[in-house]
């Protein structure tokens, strides 16, 4: 039972990582480098978009990604901990019975 929990937790964790790292790659390498020249065709205020993403925007996105990660993992931990607490409780409730069975 605990192993299953652990596996589910790890799977959810890897899913979170994949999502966030895809955004990380897209913003920095795709928008900030590969497509920067194309994005420079768009402007806002005094910035060309590609230039802005490369020198400013990407850093803001990195900060947001880590903050989102902290929140998602907190939620995941909470869910997992309540689950494993429930499991432990069940196990604890079962334990005396198991002892009795052994005794008898």
């Amino acid at each position: 039972m605990r192993d299953e929990h652990a596996r589910a937790y790890w799977k959810a964790n890897v899913r979170i990582l994949t999502t966030l790292l895809s955004i990380w790659f897209f913003v920095s390498f795709v928008c900030g480098i590969l497509l920067a020249d194309f994005l420079d065709n768009f402007r806002f205020a005094g910035f060309k978009l590609g230039f802005w993403i490369a020198q400013q925007g990407s850093i803001y996105v990195f900060v947001v990604l880590i903050i989102v990660y902290v929140f998602w993992m907190d939620r995941l931990d909470a869910r997992y901990q309540t689950n494993s607490k429930a499991a432990n409780l069940k196990a604890a409730n079962r334990a005396p019975n198991a002892d009795e069975e052994q005794a008898s």
Binding site: Y9, F51, I66
Partner: protein, 559 residues
């Protein structure tokens, strides 16, 4: 003594007094305190300490200058040195905290159940950190000599004494709390001139917004960046906001800096000092916020300084230049050679006609003077640069000392020593490391400055894959990891040595492998490390059960 010097003595004196007070108050009594500050550092404090640990003399003094000369290509420093934190926060920090030992070689040695793996890791950690620390000492020496007109030797010795105080007495505990103070000093010193200049040039107090705004009428109006592009092109330089380097090169350099950031031992060990896995995650978020503050300001400073410089000097009569020009000419950071003898400064892109050579460091160091800011702001920069240099030096020295006393002596060569003896060895190691670093700070071998930038490539090619695979691939075994680290490290080191020392004349895109410069080759090293590790691992036995159990365990949060 000039007013600037008086202010400089005041700020440096005050900040050093503060560091020493903290050092005396946080002496370490056990190896647990010496190596990981007792493991009870608050996430916000650790975030600040990580930021100071991370932002070196290079970030503080040189980065804005590099960007102002590279224009958009300077991006790889900005994204590379911040994007690595995403990798660190998501792929390394929480798991290494859960693992809960003291050092990076600890993890490599235990996870790969092998003394050879531990030794390889010790070697990589010490060589990466050493290269890096010499550059810091040199940086501290330069700041002293330029601002206080003492010679570099005296400067380095003063710096060494201060680091000695808090690193030897307090270990990680002393280092952590002084780094918190140093972060505050350095960010204040960086932001104040930036805000002043942004206000002056664009009327907007936030530099991040200011550099996308219109210039005030005194500066000629129009958007700052357009203006910068225009003057650059008129003078025959490349347009500021357009990239010049090959796209694949920029791609690889950015990636190498990111992997390297995530693999640098002195940054990783900071996450061993927080109380829990959750705190490790939170503190990575704080660290990047604190770092991002400086890193988003730097490109603004770069653009302001470049505009200001070109406006002030180009075609100006030499005799009528402002005072700062002559001061910095004395330090040779800026030099003027009146080739056509017209008494005016021609600053142009064509090397045959150009009469002005400018060292990038001036963009931060002299920026307040160029913009005509008050003396106390000028002096503040010196204190900030020293905080940046010393905080990073201390973090690196600690890695060297733990690698020697803990990994090499306690865990490999003489496991019978008591904790007290280990602590004494740690202090001796850090003392010796300070002496060696100081020596190289005073007599910098020509290669140090060159090699500092490559410390990232080496860290990327050795540690990053070994640690990530160790966490995310349970089947990864000793043979694979060791072969991978050796292959990645030697490939990267050889490529760099070849193009930097053996055949520097060949270091042009035409000869580079796939057009990748030595700065970016660490990414290739990372890939080679990974491929070699995965291949060898397939043909060798799986790691023992208890190691697989350990991997399962570090994947789960909790205590």
């Amino acid at each position: 003594m000039s007013s600037v010097q008086l202010w400089t003595y005041l700020f440096i004196g005050l900040s050093f007094g503060l560091y020493i007070t903290i050092a005396v108050r946080s002496r370490a009594g056990s190896t647990h305190e010496f190596y990981v500050a007792g493991g009870g550092v608050h996430p916000v404090a650790n975030g600040m300490a990580t930021a100071a640990d991370w932002m070196s003399a290079a970030s503080f003094i040189s980065m804005a200058g590099l960007i102002s000369f590279l224009g958009r290509d300077g991006t790889f420093y900005l994204m590379g040195w911040t994007g690595g934190y995403v990798l660190l926060a998501l792929l390394l920090a929480p798991y290494l905290r859960k693992f809960g030992k003291f050092t990076v070689p600890d993890f490599i040695g235990d996870r790969y159940y092998s003394r050879s793996a531990r030794l390889v890791a010790i070697f990589c950690a010490i060589s990466v950190s050493f290269v890096y620390v010499c550059g810091q000492m040199q940086g501290a020496g330069i700041v002293f000599s330029r601002f206080l007109e003492v010679d570099i030797t005296t400067g380095v010795i003063i710096g060494m004494t201060v680091v000695f105080f808090y690193a030897v007495l307090g270990g990680m505990k002393g280092i952590t709390y002084t780094q918190v103070a140093q972060y505050c000093v350095l960010i204040f010193a960086y932001m104040v001139p930036a805000i002043f200049i942004s206000m002056m040039m664009t009327g907007n107090p936030i530099p991040q917004i200011g550099f996308g705004s219109e210039l005030t009428p005194e500066y000629g109006g129009g958007y700052l960046l357009d203006r910068l592009d225009n003057i650059s092109e008129q003078l025959g330089f490349a347009a500021y906001t357009e990239g010049q380097r090959g796209t694949q090169d920029v791609f690889f350099i950015t990636a190498a800096l990111m992997f390297g950031t995530a693999g640098l031992p002195h940054v990783i060990i900071r996450f061993f000092t927080v109380p829990s896995v959750r705190a490790a995650r939170t503190s990575a978020a704080y660290a990047l916020i604190f770092i991002g503050l400086l890193y988003t300001t730097a490109p603004a400073v770069a653009a302001f300084a470049k505009t200001n410089l070109m406006n002030t000097v180009n075609n100006a009569v030499y005799e009528e230049l402002p005072e700062w020009f002559y001061t910095w000419e004395n330090t040779r950071l800026i030099s003027f050679d009146d080739r056509n003898g017209d008494g005016r400064v021609q600053y142009v892109g064509d090397p045959a006609l150009n009469e002005l050579t400018v060292n990038g460091d001036i963009m931060v160091l002299a920026n307040p003077e160029i913009a005509g800011l008050p003396d106390w702001v000028v002096a503040l920069v010196a204190a900030g640069a020293l905080a940046a240099a010393l905080s990073t030096a201390a973090g690196l020295l600690l890695v060297i000392s733990t690698a020697v006393s803990h990994d090499l002596l306690k865990r490999s060569l003489m496991p019978q020593i008591t904790e007290k003896q280990e602590l004494r060895y740690a202090r001796i190691a850090i003392f010796v490391a300070i002496l060696i670093a100081g020596y190289f700070g005073i007599n910098p071998p020509g290669f140090v400055a060159e090699v500092v930038a490559f410390a990232f490539g080496l860290a990327a090619a050795s540690f990053f894959p070994a640690i990530v695979l160790g966490i995310f691939y349970k089947r990864m075994n000793r043979q694979g990891a060791i072969a991978g680290m050796i292959a990645g490290f030697s490939f990267t080191a050889l490529y760099i040595i070849y193009f930097k020392f053996i055949a520097p004349e060949l270091s042009t895109p035409a000869y580079w492998l796939f057009g990748i410069s030595p700065e970016g080759i660490g990414t290739m090293g990372t890939l080679i490390n990974t491929v070699v590790a995965l291949t060898i691992c397939r043909f060798t036995p799986a790691p023992p059960r208890d190691i697989q159990q350990m991997v399962e365990d570090i994947r789960l949060p909790g205590h």
